[in-house]
Symmetry: C2
Subunit: 341 residues, 2 copies
DNA sequence: TTGTATGCGTTATCAC
DNA sequence: GTGATAACGCATACAA
């Protein structure tokens, strides 16, 4: 190996390795002169303390892992960006893991992260339907963990969520105010906690306005584009709703496509509102009314909570919960006017 | 520390650490019985070989770094997904670095990656305008590097690109065939190699069809949404183009917004085509004609090239170049018909 | 302020 | 087939 290391740098400077080491840590006392001499030479020889050796010594990795169900989704990419920003400020690196909504991958990732590779985990979960007690099996050795958006209710740990119940309630109410009487609710997985909370807001809003809740109007979709296309078209033709509330952006898109195909006019025949962080929602045809979550801020807050835990500023038995507000942005897809643009 | 390590596992089983170690590597000879006994106990105690110790020993990290200009962009998130998939298959982990298009961050990331943290780098560059010779300063110690999409022409290393010249030529020709006579070209940074290549296709297509190239029709935009909005509105009102070709998806969105504000009808008054990987381009108002790059495949191929290098299957002096084809998908934003929708 | 010695957790080499 | 030991590169306790 011709590569540089602390020993060679020490030799080149006729110093000991400990002095070199000190030059790279802030705390230790070392004369400014030698420190500068060392740093200069280090730069010249392109030396950097080996990350793995340092971390082995210090028992921490300055790395956090981010686990998300998908990447090609505006919400998650924005959230990750937020996490990235905060992590970078704190000198941390970020490992990315995508589960593709597969529970097994999630379990696998988490398990393999418990080998020192990461100091903490920020996750939006994928396996609500499954046994997620696996997280408790790590006992006190479990890495600091922060949930965001999609959480496991029964795992005690810090979390950043939005007020989904409220938003759903208001969204449904908005549709009602725009004249909708038969509002379908499209969800990816009814059993997901996020689906349940959002659904409850929908149900309660119906109740408040004296509209009978019909279970058939809950349309359970999947992660497959093709399947959803069929499901949604069936729902539209058979149930004949005059409003659709989708719990995920993807389902709003699918609804749009279905309406194009079926010649259903939005918002004339059908009004659509959706959870979505899409920045170009105003450019859709028609522009989409959205419940927009503060994705970037969610990421930042999640990272903030994790760093608090890493700094031992959080009582383990008192996980923190941050609840952020989403905004309903009304656009043409729920306009009471019949004519589209 | 109550945490588990190889020594404690060895004690618990009354075996030596070497035997334990062997159970976790594939090659060494070890009796099946003890191996299974070890793995079982390991699972029970939740033991995994410490990543940092292993990597310090083996001098590799099983980690690759991905550096991109931005995340909240369909192209990059799809590309990263592709990289992720291939990396995972090979048992590698992924570190993400976002430069926000800042050259300094890029240099900083790269420099700090040369401490063993990553075995290789996949990057779409941000600093074309600057001195990127810094990459050569590492000499033979430079980490294996693969460029994708945005590259430095003068750095010799493997790369995955699309045939931008061709696509631009065809895109421009398409606008001409739809009746455009004054086609503006919107670019983020003229000096970027990717901007230049794409621009040349535009210029040559004009030439082929006997249209005079006007430099004023090249509109140099920035990364700021507000600035671009002003720039584009000015360009539309002053230059009065009847077609716009944008080199980045973001500029097409900005053009749409500008047209909404200025009451310019697309495609009636102005036809728009853009490089874009947006999956919902059909849902825009009007649906957007795109040059769509195979983003996921680009990511997969880039990862593939990197692993080839890591396996020493690439001659260092013979970097590989993969050129993929983009597809032009014609939609309403370039329709010859006057009426939208 | 600087140097010496030790150990972080693992794996490879060499014995047995 | 298994065990003892050195070494990976670094950071700290302690000595000087």
């Amino acid at each position: 190996m011709d590569s540089i290391n602390i020993k060679k740098l020490a030799q080149a400077l006729k110093l000991s390795t400990s002095t070199i080491s000190r030059a790279f840590r802030d705390n230790s006392d070392i004369s400014i002169a030698t420190k500068e001499r060392i740093l200069a030479k280090a730069k010249e020889l392109n030396y950097q303390p080996n990350h793995y050796a340092s971390n082995l010594r210090e028992q921490k990795s300055k790395t956090i892992a981010v686990i998300v169900p998908e990447l090609a989704n505006n919400y998650f990419s924005q959230a990750i960006h937020g996490i990235e920003r905060v992590a970078r400020e704190n000198g941390y690196h970020i490992l990315i893991y995508v589960t593709d909504d597969e529970y097994k991958k999630e379990v696998n990732f988490i398990r393999h992260l418990h080998n020192g590779r990461a100091d903490g985990i920020i996750m939006s979960v994928s396996g609500e339907g499954n046994d997620h007690n696996y997280l408790n099996k790590f006992g006190p050795k479990r890495l600091p963990l922060v949930f965001f958006d999609r959480i496991y209710e029964d795992i005690e740990t810090s979390r950043v969520i939005t007020n989904d119940y409220n938003s759903s309630f208001l969204a449904t109410e908005h549709l009602i105010e725009q004249g909708c009487k038969r509002i379908a609710y499209l969800v990816v997985n009814k059993s997901l906690s996020i689906g349940k909370t959002r659904m409850q807001g929908y149900i309660d809003a119906l109740g408040k306005h004296g509209i009978q809740y019909e279970e058939s109007l809950i349309v359970d979709c999947s992660n497959s584009y093709e399947e959803n296309s069929i499901t949604i078209k069936q729902a539209l033709t058979q149930l004949k709703p005059d409003g659709v509330f989708t719990s995920v952006e993807r389902l709003a898109f699918a609804t749009y496509y279905a309406c194009y195909d079926l010649n259903i006019s939005i918002p004339g025949d059908l009004k659509v509102i959706s959870f979505s962080s899409l920045e170009i929602a105003p450019l859709l045809n028609p522009s989409l009314t959205t419940i927009t979550q503060p994705a970037t801020e969610i990421g930042e807050q999640a990272a903030g909570l994790l760093f608090k835990m890493l700094d031992n500023k959080t009582d383990e038995n008192q996980p923190e919960e941050v609840i952020l507000e989403s905004k309903i942005i009304i656009r043409n897809s729920t306009s009471a006017a019949i004519k589209t643009h």
